[in-house]
């Protein structure tokens, strides 16, 4: 990293922050849609807490983990669409003419989405607690939760960045949105692993990284501190970053060469 890279990241990140803040059409659904699904699922599946072996004190606390993952899914669409617009408008080409570092360009682009992730994390937690959920790990757990959400948003945001560099248009990036919902729905979103009856679904959920992220978040709400669950959740997000950060930089290089 050259000496000027932090300065470059700051400038690009500031632009990304301002741009996100100025787009209510991006911010409002990213907060309201996950809350809407949370409210519907918490009420509709309340009876599931009566299952033998159900680990959470109530279904509301159990399902509260889901909006935090949805924050990551919205990050893919948000950062990807912004970046695709930069490509379509020629902004990226102009940036490529400057000596800005590739790492700075990629990392800075995610800043606005990370800021939105912090807001989402705080809002979802506040609404959940107001609705009756309990955070057993207290204030320290809340901080770890927000940190985990930021990591998830950053990791998923890099998928959006890679897709934007690869496809170069917003419509294609938006097409990833339902694909990522598949990962959420084929996880332990609705029931814990032990209570999944279908063997094939249990296998898919076991190897689905989203299940481990959900488990990490849930460990903060009930059952006390669980280092293993948290470590796995952070490791999964680190794994996504490890795959998609180099991939994003590589696709950026290819795009710059092409243009």
């Amino acid at each position: 990293m050259s000496a000027s890279t932090p300065v470059q990241v700051r400038a690009i990140a500031w632009r990304s922050l301002i741009r996100t803040a100025r787009q209510p059409a991006q911010v409002v659904p990213a907060i309201t849609f996950p809350l809407m699904l949370f409210a519907i699922n918490a009420g509709g599946l309340d009876a599931a807490a009566g299952l033998r072996g159900f680990p959470a004190p109530d279904y509301l606390t159990f399902i509260l983990a889901v909006p935090f993952i949805q924050a990551g899914i919205f990050a893919v669409a948000g950062v990807g669409a912004d970046l695709a617009r930069d490509i379509e408008s020629g902004f990226l080409d102009r940036m490529a003419l400057t000596p800005v570092s590739r790492t700075g360009l990629v990392s800075g682009q995610v800043a606005g989405t990370i800021a939105l992730g912090v807001v989402q994390g705080v809002v979802f937690l506040s609404v959940g607690l107001a609705a009756g959920a309990r955070l057993e790990t207290g204030a320290a757990g809340a901080l770890v939760l927000v940190a985990l959400v930021v990591c998830i948003v950053f990791a998923f945001g890099l998928i959006g960045v890679t897709a934007a560099f690869r496809f170069g248009n917003g419509e294609a990036v938006q097409g990833l949105f339902p694909v990522l919902f598949v990962f959420l729905f084929l996880s332990t979103m609705g029931l814990p692993l032990d209570l999944l009856e279908k063997e094939w679904f249990q296998t898919v959920a076991t190897y689905n990284p989203v299940s481990h992220m959900l488990d990490g978040i849930r460990s903060l709400f009930y059952g006390g501190w669980d280092g293993e669950a948290l470590a796995l959740a952070f490791a999964m997000t680190a794994g996504i970053v490890a795959v998609f950060l180099p991939l994003a930089i590589a696709t950026l290089r290819q795009r710059v060469v092409r243009t």
Partner: protein, 257 residues
Amino acid sequence: MSGRSASVARGVAWRGLHTFFHNPTLVVPAVMFPLFFFTAFAGGLSGVSNVPGFDFPENYTTFQFVFVLLQASAFGGVFTGFAIARDFESGIGRRMMLAAPNRRAILGGYALVAVGRAVFVWIVLTAVALVAGMQVGGGPVDLFGLYGLALLINVAALMWAAGIALRFRSLQAGPLMQTPVFLIVFLAPVYVPFDLLAGWVKVVATVNPITPIVEAGRQFISGAPADSLLAYGAVLALLVVLGAWALRGRRRAETAG
């Protein structure tokens, strides 16, 4: 309907269905989304059937099939509303209004498109559900009752979406077409029978017209229809109200020129 009106409806329907079946970006999501919901709900939540008081006689795959069938039918209607908005954006809608001797027939044509799309999705979804182990306790008459409900909900949802599409005449009104339908459908007993709902969702489900439709659909497939009159009454009432909404929308589109 006169011969000329029938001809207009057939023309609009042929065009709409031709566009749908020749465009993979329309066909694939129309089939994949219901299959995805079915897989996720029937696969991931089957343990919910072990909740004390869960008294549906068939398996959870069957329980979820009915919901997904009705949901897919409703969204088939909504997505046909998108097609109406797209036609008005491109100018085709306005030209059809100029050419048709009876403009209500245009709406009838779009209804045929919505039904055609829904039937295609029903065939795929039913085949997949049977392969996945769906149990059918009802006889042919019961199944006719179930698919009849699905058909009427499909047309009712189309009327809602058409009312929006004809007023705004732009795809930008898409969220207005689908969000209320999404909410009303998901605020019915989706995952458990009505008696097991709790809290505010139960209060909403009590007055939600989709609730008796979903409940009756599940009774039909298990061969024990009890509330079918209430369900058909609810869906026909929706159809009348939303049909009037769509026809008023058509008048707004005429006035706009």
